[in-house]
Symmetry: C2
Subunit: 254 residues, 2 copies
């Protein structure tokens, strides 16, 4: 999918990985980039507009933990303005295993609910045109950072959900793939709580090993968007973009 002239909604497009990705997206010249984030950042929005004045960058406040009905209302406003939306990026995430409920609500339920809400506009069974969903999951959904078992599990859930979405594309017309960053040098990683404080130095320890920058991650993110491969499980680690083959342990046969 060429980004040029497309309409893109980016949930958490001002976040650690989000902002650099928004910058890279804007460079590729979409028609609209609609950023939904919890906290407004007018400086960042102004910067994005300045990068490419041909792109319409708009911002709406959005907390992914609101009920689906509220998301639907916001999407109604956005679809009324844009008419069509080509790509939804779900990027909201927190990393704090002291906050069990909130981690699950943001990283897992938030992704499911935002996706569920957009289906009303996209689902081909309802006469919709289909669409594309890129969910930012994590390599910790493959293999955990076991010191943050709740975060890792929430990402395993987001990944599994995304894989299912892809397999439902023939029914819904909506394709999906997952973006799974490895350890990326964002504010998120510097200091965070492990579950029951099993490892107070978990952030520090992670950063003792090779990592990647948010820019490297963002550039590969744009490559994954351009590849537009339904069902792809993209690992974005150490500056590389690698497709992951999921192991089949079991098959539902349906």
């Amino acid at each position: 999918m060429a980004i040029a002239n497309k309409n893109i909604i980016f949930v958490a497009g001002l976040g650690g990985i989000g902002l650099d990705t928004s910058r890279e997206i804007v460079k590729s010249g979409p028609k609209n980039l609609v950023i939904l984030d919890r906290i407004e950042n007018p400086t960042a929005i102004a910067e994005l507009k300045a990068i490419n004045p041909k792109v319409t960058v708009t911002f709406y406040p959005y907390d992914v933990t609101v009920p689906v009905a509220e998301t639907t209302k916001l999407l109604k406003t956005i679809f009324a303005k844009l008419k069509t939306v080509d790509l939804l990026i779900n990027g909201a995430g927190i990393l704090d295993d002291h906050q069990i409920e909130r981690t699950i609500a943001v990283n897992f339920t938030g992704t499911v609910n935002t996706t569920t809400a957009i289906m009303e506009f996209w689902d081909k069974r309802k006469g919709g045109p289909g669409g594309v969903i890129a969910n930012i999951c994590s390599v910790t959904g493959f293999n955990a950072i076991y010191q943050v078992p709740v975060y890792s599990a929430s990402k395993a859930a987001a990944l599994s959900f995304t894989n299912s979405l892809a397999r439902l594309a023939h029914i819904t017309g909506v394709t999906a793939y997952s973006i799974n960053p490895g350890i990326t040098r964002t504010p998120l990683v510097h200091k965070f709580n492990s579950w029951l404080d099993v490892e107070p130095r978990v952030g520090e320890l992670l950063l003792e090993h090779p990592t990647q920058t948010t820019l490297e991650c963002a550039q590969n993110f744009v490559k994954a968007i351009e590849a537009n491969k339904n069902g792809a499980i993209w690992q974005l680690d150490l500056g590389q973009l690698i497709p992951v083959e999921w192991t089949k342990h079991w098959d539902s046969h349906i």
Copy 2:
């Protein structure tokens, strides 16, 4: 771990797979089987007591979606009576992809919270004696039934969480393994809602393929308890008990 003379807490021990498993456990002669379930079933409790009169079977009402503090209170009562608990089985689960929040709350958050609560009593860093956790996850955590993406994802999360618990055993003294049943002929499977009704016949379709009985599943469950292997990912499918080797796509190196 020999079940004889042990103290076991079984969350959802009266459920579809739970009740047959409780029957098999009681036959093996634990000292105490404490069943926590949402709905009391005096007939089932009486039957369990009759199977082996030497076993003390007790019941407490418990909804896994309560806050951790409430679980802690209940566990305090149980630990005061039993003094020690050897095994906690987390078996609460629902299958209804119309209920997104509830599916996540029961299948994922419920497992995390009940585990978090018992750590206060078991964690060796607090002078506790350690313990063993058996989490009932699902083969759909390996590879989804994509028509129920929320259920499958919640099970992927429970599985990931359990794998992490096992790797934390050297810190907490608490070991863990997952019990992953394949399609088992329980009331759960006969009729359930798919996500956005993508496949109204999902239950029927699953049952057109080979399945297992709850008794087969329960007997293999007891074998897994006896094997007592920290970190094991047990697949209980088609009457068989198979250890699954998880694929390493990524390593945190910490």
